[in-house]
Amino acid sequence: MARLSDAPPSTDADETPALPGDGLREGIVDDLRNRIGDAIVDVHLVPNDDLWVRVRTDAWRQTADALKAAGFTFFGFLSGLDWLPSPYGKGEEDPTAEPEEPDTEIRQGVTGGDTRFQVFARLVDLDRHVGITVKADVPDDEPVVETWTTVFAGANWHERECHEMFGIGFAGHPDLRNMYLPGDFEGYPLRKDFPLLSRMIKPWPGIVDVEPMPVQDEPDADQAAQEESAS
């Protein structure tokens, strides 16, 4: 990851600067491959920064066991991701402008994926000071994954919250009831097709500005864009 404090990037397109190696994280990936083998679907490693691993859905709890045995004993969090672009937009568009075509393509993030929903979790190894983010697809037709509560007791509450916000089931969870929402709440709020009704009834008052928004093609904006595209 280039930083401002680094040397200016080389302009020669053929010469790719050698990235610093990250033995620690590569070792973790190798160790995980030894433990769970072909359950790993995709790996995204940013050297000296962070590590993402996507595993097969049926190996979700197996991954937790393997990582805990490998030293990742600190439970960070567990939650869900909904990759559907919101059909309601952001509610900040200028009402006098032409409405744009809404983007309906589901594009997953860093380690790819095949389904609309994914679960992801973060575990940390406190001795080696390194963390790992694991993701797994959630099948579209039956959104259920295994629970982590037998491995990490703290996953109990996180799975309850994920269930009430996304509607993802956790097989084997002792007590999957609502965490935050009242009992008679209908719908799963964090799904992208759950509308925020206040925004639909009344548009955000800040759209109508007294002075117009700053124009896009300013000299410092252009310069910053050129710097970013060169680095």
Partner: protein
Amino acid sequence: MTMMSERQQLSYIASQAADARLNVELETEGMTLNIGPQHPATHGTLRIICRLDGEQVVWAEPGCGYMHRGYEKLTEVRTFPQVTTLVNRIDWLGSFANEVPFILAAEKLMEIEAPPRAQVIRTILFELSRIANVSLFLGDLGVQMGAVTPVFLAFRDREYVLNLIEGATGGRFHPNFDRIGGLKDDLPKGWIDETRQAIAKLREFCDIIEDLLFGNEIFQSRMRGIGIIPADIAKDYGLSGANLRASGVDFDLRRDQVLPMAWDKADWKVWTHPDGDSFARCWVRLQETRESCKIVDQLLDQIPAGPIMTKVPRIIKVPEGEAWVSTENPLGEMGYYVVSKGDLGPFRVKIRSASFNNISIVPWALKGVYVPDIITILASLYFILGDIDR
């Protein structure tokens, strides 16, 4: 079972027997005690439902959600600067500290870094918000034990820090001062000297509280040996911050990860305690406040000259990607997982708040304790409702 003390084992057995008694035709019934949601001893609207057998808790469950404002959904319909404004209000006592991990995650996605001056000032404000947060904790600790005096001292001495934050940022809490690429404004003239005076007063406050509260015999006997949480249980539940360090785990995100902030420029110490009981947790926080005063003092001498913000475009569109940044906030480890699709605002933000994990241990920790100890354990775990419920 082996990780519990003998007293806890006996009470566990007693609670199992109590459960059995409750299930049979019985002369006495267990009582359901409902603490909250509005109660002076809880930092906000937390409801604890306990089933008691006499004076012992058989089963306890916190009922959250009374302050659930739907942060993660709201961030999806706001731009990055608007999310910064909103996110102040999660941990409403140490407010600048909430903005920092989010801004750092956005900067990570944009692959920029704030200039050194901004980094040092960010760290100073971060530590000041930690002092503001924990000083109120120390005062509130007294109120929850039944001693009302320390909270007046806490409010009075906290005013010094709030004046400083207001002088620099314009808001007593909820500063909205951090921006992607730096800070909104530079420090006003005379702020550094005033900060030094305020830090001296806060050191006195720490000494007074140690004498008044921690040295009190009643406090000690109510806190020592209560609510022991062993280290592996703490890690299982994801306890962080002073709760983890009080169980003997030497882990502090300020020291153990590399972030573009200025903690490595100061010479400070990480405090741990082997016991893991309520007294340990409170004591570690007191020492951390003193350590924060030390950090601020050292950093005030080291503010470099320079710009306060890097060059960023007027309208910020963060490139596509995912980033996770977490920092050692006053309550524990607070982190943001920001997913961006190249828009004006984030696609999804997962807010990992410290108190959510800290309170998830309450059903385990309250098994078999006596009723007065419920409040003691909750007080020492230290949560803020906005942090639990988001």
